[in-house]
Symmetry: C2
Subunit: 104 residues, 2 copies
DNA sequence: ACTATATTTCTAGATATTTAGAAATAATAT
DNA sequence: ATATTATTTCTAAATATCTAGAAATATAGT
């Protein structure tokens, strides 16, 4: 994942609703949750939720699988790990560098 | 850092310019870099950069210290670690949970 | 006092996001 | 065929972000 991709993904997670959706999906587990289940749990109007989910899918934070009528949303753990890895590597330079790193 | 705070910080990092600034500051080290140095390195108009820096400071991603005429910007490693910690803890649940986690 | 430097604040236009109702689509059940 | 359910697409208004020139502020040097 390059600079632009990282920024795009962080921007998607940087919205209260979408962060809540992602956290919910992670808690739901690797088999995910349907749009309807998310909607009920987080109480977001259908069209609004659909819009947010589409954005998250677009950058690869989640996958969406159609099972007959319902659409199941699955968090992409791999993608998040990439994101975290980027932040660790590019923004923390190994681990820490300041003399007072211990206090962080 | 709570849900809202995390979302706000991720949103700030979710902008190409600001992510570039943050990365530059981390590379600059714990003593940071002046606004002018950032401006020269990343070639962003002064007023635009000032705006982005103010936003980053507002959520705590960086600190700004005035030294006579110049303002030095210092990355807040602690803040980023908190952010990473939140993502690890809240969005990865320990490490991995799916039977096929290896394939992720 | 005057000039140069560093940075911000003001301002405003262009663009993007957020929100959600209403209508549309698709699949299953009756 | 019709109704029901799940979800999307359309649409539009409200709000926020991004951008950058111009003017303002603050500090230091001459």
């Amino acid at each position: 994942m390059d600079h632009e991709g990282v920024a795009a993904s962080l921007a998607e997670l940087g919205n209260t609703h979408r962060l809540a959706v992602f956290r919910f999906l992670v808690k739901a587990g690797h088999h995910g949750a349907s749009v309807g289940e998310i909607q009920k749990a987080l109480d977001i109007p259908a069209s609004t939720l659909s819009h947010h989910l589409a954005r998250m899918a677009r950058v690869g934070l989640i996958k969406q699988e159609k099972h007959s009528r319902t659409i199941v949303c699955i968090p992409n753990y791999h993608h998040l790990q990439n994101l975290i890895g980027f932040l660790q590597a590019e923004c923390c330079m190994g681990e820490n560098m300041a003399p007072d790193a211990a206090s962080l």
